[in-house]
Subunit: 361 residues, 2 copies
């Protein structure tokens, strides 16, 4: 008995050493989905301030990421980098990477198998509606229960995931605030979604919704692969002729062509650009703030009304800018900024401490 206990202690100790020296970027979470009738895994990234000592327990927008396991690391890195102060290009956000079990089944809106080289491809496709119900009724509520989330959600999808992102934008518009479709498989099922889109985009209200559409280079031009060339031409037409029809519906969109990127490589540069597009205008002119702290409110007001959601600067960011003003002996500006911070984060101990420091000047 004693021996077994010793072995357990040793194993656990080794394992805890392993934990200490590992560089972790998130955690694996599991849930059972009654809708999909299976266990699902999702990976969660929390921004550095989430559990930081001395900062208020605030809430965060959430990025939902399709093909979670493949894209989690890069989106977390982009998010971490772009949200760093003082030149923040996006707010700090929680990332939820949805790990696939059967991506063809989940990410395609309709059933459509294809015969190629004597084999049936995509036989198990077309259960996208089930997957959307899982997102809406199970995953999003689960994440909201377990983490401090704001009601601002971004959906990022690549390839079949991009098809799913556009499907949700068109048919379940309210589910997310912003959509990122990376080289989406709009060729699916004889371009069905592409063909339905024009009508929906003129009919429905898309105010407060954003879409970033990224298209990779034309691989078909080199290889003369018919399927690839339909893939390319469909996105091209969607971007050039279908999306512009949403003008009156209020959809905020941008589409970019990435000539240097192929279908596989496009996610990193396009996700980077997409997140910057969504929060365009959020970056503060830091050097001008000591003379004009009112620019902070103006900036955040402008970006909030652009995206239809009230964003406020992070507690850390305003503390840092106040400290910057103090280093230039711009006491009044520092005070204004710290009071703004206390209004945004009532009871903020960090802003209160800095205000006390100010009183000594």
């Amino acid at each position: 008995m004693k021996k077994i206990l010793s072995i357990i202690v040793c194993l656990c100790f080794l394992s805890s050493l392993w934990a200490q020296e590992n560089i972790s970027i998130g955690t694996r979470q599991k849930m059972y989905s009654p809708i999909l009738k299976e266990n699902r895994e999702y990976w969660v990234y929390l921004p550095p301030s989430y559990n930081a000592l001395g900062l208020s327990k605030t809430s965060y927008p959430v990025i939902y990421l399709l093909d979670g396991a493949e894209n989690f690391q890069s989106v977390a890195a982009i998010q971490q980098w772009l949200s760093k102060g003082p030149y923040t290009h996006i707010p700090e956000m929680i990332i939820v990477g949805i790990v696939n079990t059967d991506r063809t089944r989940d990410l395609t809106p309709t059933q459509s198998s294809i015969q190629r080289n004597g084999k049936t491809l995509f036989a198990n496709s077309g259960k996208g509606d089930n997957f959307i119900a899982f997102l809406k009724d199970e995953l999003i509520p689960e994440v909201s229960r377990n983490y401090r989330t704001q009601d601002y959600r971004i959906l990022i999808g690549h390839s079949f995931g991009g098809l799913m992102a556009i499907q949700i934008l068109l048919k379940h518009t309210e589910l997310f605030n912003a959509y990122v479709a990376l080289d989406p498989s709009l060729w699916w099922d004889n371009k069905r979604l592409h063909n339905e889109a024009a009508d929906i985009l003129t009919r429905k209200d898309f105010r407060g919704r954003s879409l970033y559409l990224a298209q990779a280079s034309d691989e078909a031009a080199m290889s003369k692969d018919t399927a690839l060339s339909v893939h390319w031409a469909t996105i091209k037409n969607f971007s050039a002729n279908v999306l512009p029809q949403s003008a009156k519906a209020g959809l905020l969109y941008q589409s970019e062509y990435y000539e240097q990127e192929d279908h596989g490589s496009i996610p990193i540069p396009a996700t980077y650009d997409a997140l910057r597009f969504i929060f365009k205008g959020i970056t503060l002119p830091v050097k001008n703030l000591p003379d004009n702290p009112a620019l902070i409110t103006q900036h955040y007001h402008a970006v909030s009304s652009r995206i239809g959601f009230q964003l406020i600067p992070s507690e850390q960011l305003l503390n840092d800018i106040a400290r910057y003003c103090m280093s230039l002996e711009k006491w009044q500006s520092a005070r204004t900024i710290l009071e703004m911070n206390l209004k945004n984060y009532p009871g903020s101990t960090s802003a209160t401490a800095l205000l006390k420091e100010l009183q000594k000047k």
Copy 2:
């Protein structure tokens, strides 16, 4: 005693649970540096194939990353993404992120303090030579001892780190094969390195060395900050007038201006572009290989002679392409590719298994 033991078991068990559910991208390593007379931490990322079952134990080029803690996550993500097959844009590499203790001391080549707002800045600068000796005589040998490394090394540095990258390129050229300088602080010490560069670049042999220089937008134009405007103008002049003088010295270089990026945001897009620049030509025209497998050798030969270092395609990549040929019933091409793989990785069990599968056809 029993109680204490139980508590230890519990704590260790909890900690091991924590380890299991964490998403890890690398490990923290420690070493004592007799040269710097201090403990140094470095973070290590190993590519997925490093410990993969069924693949040969091969060796890898190494990326050395300055400001390691800040940049590790994003460079690891970019590396992981761009080296994924079948369209690989860079080889799989080990990443070593060097964590700072005193970055001003280590990354500046000369002592140069500055008075600003009544304070002395950079008082402890100018110990760059010590840091270079640490890299050369301690860190690189330590990494080579502990990991399966190839003698192809890339140095990536941002800001002061970019200054250090150019210092090493000019003064210790052989230490790395490729250098990435992200918005480097060439203004340092009255542009001393910038001023020395032209002479060195015409005099020394830079064949087999690459440099990617990235410049951020002109923040000074907005804020009228004199220091910032010297920073910007110095890189601009280095890129436009100094670097071209290396034409006869054989330096392979590219310099890019990132108008949309500021000094803080430039690392992600520029590192992405830099790695693609260094290994330009490595991406295989996958769709054409079933008809012409000789293109693989041609491509790798071209990129190897461009960078002056022999690269070979990864074992996994050739297996995957062979499988692709088999799916199209191009048996002879599959055989040629697998035999190439066996020649590159003698005794490869995965290539041997696939060749056996082929014999049944």
